[in-house]
């Protein structure tokens, strides 16, 4: 008899634990997906833009002494048959002032297509101070065949943005989301496309 024969129960216990550890780590790999988001939300490390509401913005004093240039870019990713561009290339805004900007999207195909816009703000250190109250990127956007739509984003640059930041670039990439949106009954509701000159800022 060898040492092994005397130890099967011990082996079995250890094997069971190790196999459990393997499955737990397999699950942990998937858990990392939400965990990264949670971690970044808590620490603010993700470089994503934030969301705020208009009441908070109204309570924020406007920094009358400072102007920040906000540039707009946008592109439709390959696979999305849209034309997509900002209506103005850039504007000067005062930190604390709620500002509205628009993009134009046109469906060049002959069918209804649903897209999803992913925003990105550079420089990274500005992202945490760039907040939106309204954005076409919050939901999927539907465009009928040949339809043109003006899409609105309402944002505020917070007054505590570092002094070193003078120019912020807001960029949208529009992706085809057909694969991921279950065929919804009926059309998605259209957003109000009328332009209001709420805080137009100093256009340049």
């Amino acid at each position: 008899m060898t040492a092994a024969a005397q130890q099967p129960p011990a082996n079995r216990r250890l094997i069971l634990r190790l196999v459990l550890a393997v499955f737990a780590m397999f699950g942990f790999g998937f858990a990392l997906v939400p965990l990264y988001d949670v971690f970044c939300d808590i620490t603010g490390l993700n470089g994503k833009t934030g969301v705020t509401d208009s009441r908070t913005v109204e309570a924020t004093p406007i920094d009358k002494d400072r102007w920040v240039t906000v540039e707009f870019t946008g592109n439709a990713a390959s696979g999305l048959p849209w034309e997509f561009r900002p209506t103005v290339a850039k504007m000067e805004v005062q930190p604390g002032a709620l500002t509205r900007a628009t993009y134009i999207a046109r469906n060049t195909s002959n069918r209804t297509v649903v897209g999803r816009a992913i925003p990105s703000v550079t420089p990274g250190e500005a992202a945490a101070h760039f907040k939106k109250t309204e954005c076409f990127c919050f939901t999927e956007q539907y465009l009928d065949a040949g339809e043109t739509k003006e899409m609105t984003v309402q944002f505020v640059v917070e007054p505590d943005i570092p002094r070193s930041v003078n120019t912020i670039t807001l960029s949208y990439a529009f992706f085809n989301a057909e694969k991921y949106v279950k065929q919804k009954t009926g059309k998605a509701k259209h957003q109000d496309t009328k332009l209001e000159k709420a805080h137009p800022g100093k256009k340049s």
Binding site: M1, T2, A3, A4, I15, V22, F26, V33, F175, A177
Partner: protein, 525 residues
Amino acid sequence: MATADAAHHGEHHAHPTGILRWITTTNHKDIGTLYLLFSLSMFMVGGLMALIIRAELFQPGLQVVDPHFFNQMTTMHALVMIFGAVMPGFVGFANWMLPMMIGAPDMALPRLNNWSFWILPFAFTMLLSSLLTAGGGPASGWTLYAPLSIQGGMSVDMTIFAIHMMGVSSILGAINVIVTIFNMRAPGMTLLKMPLFVWTWLITAFLLIAVMPVLAGVVTMLLTDRHFDTAFFNPAGGGDPVMFQHIFWFFGHPEVYILILPAFGIISEIIPTFSRKPLFGYTTMVLATAGIAFLSFIVWAHHMFTVGMPLAGELFFMYSTMLIAVPTGVKVFNWVSTMWRGALTFETPMLFAIAVVFLFTIGGFSGLMLAITPADFQYHDTYFVVAHFHYVLFSGSIMAMMGGAYYWLPKWTGHMYDEKLGKTHFWLNTIFFNITFFPQHFLGLAGMPRRIPDYALQFTEFNVISSIGAFGLGLSQLLFVYVVIKCVRGGEKASDEVWEQPRGLEWTVPSPAPYHTFETPPRVA
């Protein structure tokens, strides 16, 4: 459950012969041999791919292969070398040596052991045959970054399944190693008496169990993104391609220590023998190994400094990465201290071990350079990175395995290898290795990107040198194969001890090691 059936081993009934012996074997020495031969053959396959890469890079412009095939070669070279040559190679050493080193009759789970090995030929048949599919093999780099890998053809799916199978094989092997080490040690073989190779493999096995499932998870996400409309990495569905890199490198960084820790173990066996001194700082070696393993989990994002992380993230990963130099430095100084005032002789295994200490340290230093975030923006994805990881992987892992092979070949075969040819192999290998990879540092610093089949004219000279070195390096491995075959077939009879008063239980059994060893556990003082 495939636990050890001791009675079965005690009977000594007739073994199947011929090919069936190898297919049905549950003997740790047989399986160790299978792993080592598999590793050697994959080393040759991966080496051929490297030579295709170097042939194309011999001159600027496109001469030998088209760019898409070049990309397949860089991808496959890495996958084959990492998962086919280095990992199975170390499992082969573990199979052969662990039971003998701790005074156990066999691995704890012999049937599982057989299965762990026999998954591998199927996994690699699938991986390599993906080269023959329409559109060719995977070409996204071995890291399989999304979204590029989401767009690949059928070969990506074959790669994913092959990775699943290799993962199962490594995990089963790791479970076997842990159970063997915890439950099969001879009486008196306390944990802190175990040879360092056993310790490094124990820690490696835990790393494997911790991260191979994460790799399996992330490639499964790729698979479902490709075929089942999930959107883990596709922004159109709310996913994030950078997430792939985070999860992949959460596996990937511990993986690089999986590839190096057993090498540390091997040279920690070789250096004391040829210094005729016990290993200096044994306990600190164990602690340093554990420290490196722990740190490996909190440094992953240093592979992705350029993705646009916030400053706090860059700083954290920079400092934590630099911290790894501390336990690694402890190891290097311990090896040097072991040699200090030792009665050194320079047989082939010792030559390899010293070269590993020296060249791995160069790789460690270039790693420190890469760890400096602002500098990394210059080095990222250049040939500097290629030079760095070949200095740690080739002159770390592979050369440690070669040294280990020369060290234990007499024990495995009962014959001394041809010392003169062994030394010739060492010098050819080491000189050509440096000719191949040292110029790549300069290429990288000058800005030559990696994974590109063509380059600007000013990079020509160093690439010519590197390619010549690569062909010399490749050819010199044929000498290694010849020395091994010659040693298996005959040669001077090796004594039981083989070397001058080596430490370790493996030297107390006859040479060649009998089919069954330590059926009665030895007593360890």
